[in-house]
Amino acid sequence: MSFALYGESDPISQAKSIVSRIEDPCVAEQVERLLSVIHKLITAVRQVKADLPGIPPLHAYQSEDGSVFVEWIFPDFRIGFNIESNQEDSGWHLVSNERLGEVTASGQLTSEREIMVLFVQFVLPNM
């Protein structure tokens, strides 16, 4: 699966680099799928919006219990994903600062749709 992005540096490269080190195959598969969806979204938006501002990189790190956190940090908000061995426990989290109304929202990560909704309804308008 190719993750190459043209133009600016690849925002998902750091997060992608830990996939090979994830011991739990279920967690690894979820992380790969998540990054693939985000990659497609970024690519699609870049094709439509040439003046898209710089996209911050995603960061991923593995915690002691084998779960993986993926964070996407913007100046006024942060999106996090916790990827667990039991997929039903995997989730997304959105937090913002005062400027964007101190948003705190979260949900289960059961399909690509949740990621797309987050991206379209919150990330794009507030980038």
């Binding site: 989730g91 705190t104 979260s106």
Partner: protein, 97 residues
């Protein structure tokens, strides 16, 4: 922050063996931010903090989290605290004149 010594004191804290407690740097979270997060409807009643001075550390305290907090809420809180904090890396301090 208690006073202007709180940050350098924390950065220079050492373990029993003399090595630095926080090798990379520290996160600074203001009381104002903590109070705001405490009042957040999502976390109200689950988060608190206390001062807990030690002989070796007059600035020491604890973040208190209720045991029965929902795991998803706990993860959201982690992200919320992380986003509210300012990171002070050790190399920034070393490079300062």
């Amino acid at each position: 922050m208690d006073d202007e010594n709180a940050i350098p004191f924390t950065l220079n804290q050492t373990k029993d063996n003399g090595s630095l407690q926080f090798k990379v740097g520290i996160a600074i979270l203001s009381r104002r931010s903590l109070d705001r997060i405490k009042k957040d409807a999502v976390f109200a009643g689950f988060l608190d903090y206390e001062r807990d001075q030690l002989e070796t550390n007059p600035y020491h305290g604890n973040l208190l989290l209720k045991k029965d907090i929902d795991p998803r809420k706990k993860t959201s809180l982690r992200f919320k605290l992380a986003h509210a904090a300012k990171v002070k890396l050790r190399e920034e301090t070393q490079q300062s004149p």
